[in-house]
């Protein structure tokens, strides 16, 4: 008999309402963890604002802001164990920071430096530009982790738009068949550049796509750090036990797609306003203030501290010697070919005429 479209019921996991009020029971999360979650979100927002400013000043290149997605990114990455790996896209900076990627190197990345993807030992794969490709690397990485008994989960970060790519499908299917320790973490921020989710897929939710791969799926309020964190804990546990999962975090891209994008071309201000009311940072703050473990003064201090860390990272990046064209020839193969040696030697150091 017919399985009608969208007949699966999907219930979104939520712990905090839009004003940061707890819905239902108190979850088992320590105050320390609550504060850490919030502080990382502050760090994320601060980084984002500064990066935008620096881009406008022409001091860094194109930048893809994460504002609005801090709860999704921080909440998910905060649930990881150190031995877990993440496979981020261009927008997943704060997830990467939480998992140990140096802020300095992301600045280098935006400056077009050859070392901009160096995780300096953190388990963070180089950011992926090709939509969907990282899902397969996460599958392969997770598989290796399983074979090598690393007790490590691989997390692929991807957007709503990315779920349309063939690589997304192939990755979930492989993970399902071979029961790999992989979490597919989709930030459904409602837009893929100018294309709204309704034009991206006719599926009512992204979570329900799990059904196609015989794996578990779940939808979570992606602006609720607590919900994301706790759901991700469960997801990681399942994955660690050999059941890959798909997590959809419902959130919103408050900013432009990148600094080259003008969202007023394609979306209504009213939509943004609605989502600003659900802002993840504000919401978490309200919760911890209400809980009595945070106040305005601490908040101000935290933002200042975050600013300072960003400044330090940027300074370090600025003081890193610019990449030199001669270096690239050493990065193609483990051992340089004669062709590359010849080309490397041909490079002159004089100023480039244009």
């Amino acid at each position: 008999m017919w399985i009608e479209p969208n007949e699966t019921t999907v219930e979104k996991v939520q712990y905090l309402d839009e004003n940061g009020k707890l819905l239902g029971e108190r979850p088992d999360v320590s105050d320390d963890d609550l504060l850490s979650l919030y502080k990382w979100m502050v760090q994320a927002r601060t980084f984002d604002k500064r990066a935008l400013k620096l881009q406008r000043q022409g001091r860094i290149g194109t930048y893809a802001p994460m504002i609005g997605q801090e709860a999704a990114q921080v909440g998910s990455a905060f649930a990881l164990e150190k031995q877990d790996w993440i496979y981020p896209s261009y927008r997943d900076l704060s997830a990467s920071f939480v998992h140990g990627f140096p802020m300095k190197n992301f600045f280098l990345y935006t400056m077009g430096h050859l070392k901009g993807t160096d995780a300096e030992g953190a388990n963070v794969f180089p950011v992926q530009i090709i939509i969907g490709a990282q899902c397969l690397h996460a599958v392969g990485g997770g598989w290796a982790g399983k074979i090598n008994n690393e007790n490590s989960v691989s997390v692929a970060y991807i957007g709503d738009g990315g779920t349309s790519e063939g690589d997304f499908h192939e990755a979930l299917n492989f993970a399902g068949v071979y029961k790999l320790p992989v979490v597919f973490f989709v930030q459904n921020n409602q837009w893929a550049i100018s294309v709204p989710i309704a034009k991206q897929t006719a599926s009512k939710t992204i979570a329900q796509k799990a059904a196609a791969y015989g794996i578990a799926g779940i939808q979570v309020d992606g602006n609720d750090a607590l919900a994301v964190y706790l759901t991700m804990k469960q997801a990681l546990e399942r994955a660690r036990n050999g059941s890959p999962v798909l997590v959809e975090a419902v959130t919103y891209r408050q900013g432009p797609h990148t600094t080259s994008d003008d969202p007023t071309k394609y979306r209504e201000n009213s939509e943004l306003a609605e989502w600003l009311a659900k802002d993840p940072v504000k919401r978490m703050k309200a919760f911890i203030v209400e809980k009595g473990i945070w106040n305005e003064e601490l908040d101000q201090q935290e933002f200042e501290l975050a600013e300072q860390k960003v400044s330090e990272a940027f300074e370090l990046a600025l003081n890193t010697p610019k990449s030199n064209a001669k270096e690239i020839f050493d990065l193609v193969y483990e051992q340089k070919t004669i062709q590359l040696t010849e080309q490397q030697n041909s490079i002159r150091t004089e100023r480039v005429l244009k």
Partner: protein, 326 residues
């Protein structure tokens, strides 16, 4: 006559062609309301509706594969790949499906379609946005590959591409989108696919180039011809596949020297084919080795070093000197 930038000429041509022939459909990522990330399709959806200007999900294989399906059933799709570096995702649909359809159907079906894509260096993009991959398609029978170097050519070539009954890759050098304005007639004209343009005649050396490096080569030649005391012929290839052998060979038979300039990486690239052709058909006219100034044999690098990586003025001058003094 109006003057236009290249991106304006592309937008204008798409509009004109869609007005002329309602079988033409545009499809791609963000080409609707947003008008494309470079505004190539700006305003088209408002004019022609969502049925003819289609925002697709993010799936390049599907964009091209769908276009193949459309092309066989009476439409003339113009697909946009947001950046040419993403064409790898659609490689089977471009090379094994669109390109081979006439052949594999025993001539009963064809795929009259265009795949447009911006590409090219010097724009400080993230990786895989700048790569020049025309060489891969030159080596793939059944496709035509064209590349304009200015607004006038963009209109004439795009019009020809849309009206062609075979699949055409129309590659748009990003750096030139808004770099210059040229006179562009509003009325209909075509630039024949498969014919190169002798931009400037000369006697002593032939420079063969296309797309993004054409203005650079012209400028270098303008500035250095006197100092070298040599007269340089410049060929803007316009079409990468099929290559206009005749124009190249005739020119090299005259000058006896050739330099090829392209942004694609050197080894196995289009410059190799041109050099091999010259070897095959004009060897004994040569008075110097055919040199290539190209991207180096590395992945397209990060912004910090791309100016050195690209065939820049220094490198062109250097090689020109070598070729001339051999």
């Amino acid at each position: 006559m109006t003057t236009m930038t290249m991106i304006e000429a592309i937008n204008f041509t798409l509009r004109k062609e869609m007005e002329r022939d309602n079988r033409i459909i545009c499809l791609g990522e963000d080409i609707g309301k947003n008008g494309g990330v470079f505004r190539a399709t700006d305003g088209l959806q408002a004019l022609f509706g969502e049925e003819r200007v289609i925002d697709t999900p993010i799936a390049e294989s599907a964009i091209v594969g769908t276009a193949v399906g459309m092309a066989t059933r009476g439409l003339r799709p113009v697909a946009e790949i947001q950046f040419f570096g993403f064409i790898y995702e659609a490689m089977d649909q471009v090379v094994a499906q669109a390109a081979r359809l006439r052949f594999r159907s025993g001539g009963t079906l064809g795929a009259p379609m265009v795949v447009r894509a911006p590409f090219g260096g010097g724009v400080r993009t993230p990786e895989l946005h700048s790569d020049s991959l025309e060489g891969l398609f030159l080596h793939s029978p059944g496709l035509k590959v064209v590349m304009p170097s200015n607004a006038y050519d963009a209109k004439g070539l795009l019009t020809a591409a849309i009206r062609d009954n075979d699949p055409v890759m129309f590659l748009e050098p990003m750096k030139l989108y808004r770099a210059f304005k040229h006179e562009v007639p509003e009325q209909d004209y075509l630039i024949e696919i498969g014919k190169a343009n002798v931009l400037k005649e000369g006697e002593d050396v032939t420079i063969i180039t296309w797309g993004p490096t054409v203005p650079l080569v012209s400028k270098v030649v303008e500035q250095w011809e006197k100092q070298f005391n040599a007269s340089v012929e410049i060929i803007d290839l316009r079409t990468i596949s099929p290559i206009d052998e005749e124009t190249i060979i005739t020119s090299v038979q005259k000058t006896g020297r050739a330099l090829i300039v392209h942004e694609a990486v050197k080894t196995g690239g289009p410059g190799a084919e041109i050099s091999a052709l010259i070897n095959e058909k004009a060897l004994f006219y040569l008075t110097a080795p055919v040199l290539r100034v190209t991207g180096f044999d590395t992945p397209y690098p990060v912004p910090a070093v791309e100016d050195e990586w690209l065939p820049n003025a220094n490198r062109i001058i250097q090689s020109l000197k070598e070729v001339l003094t051999h």
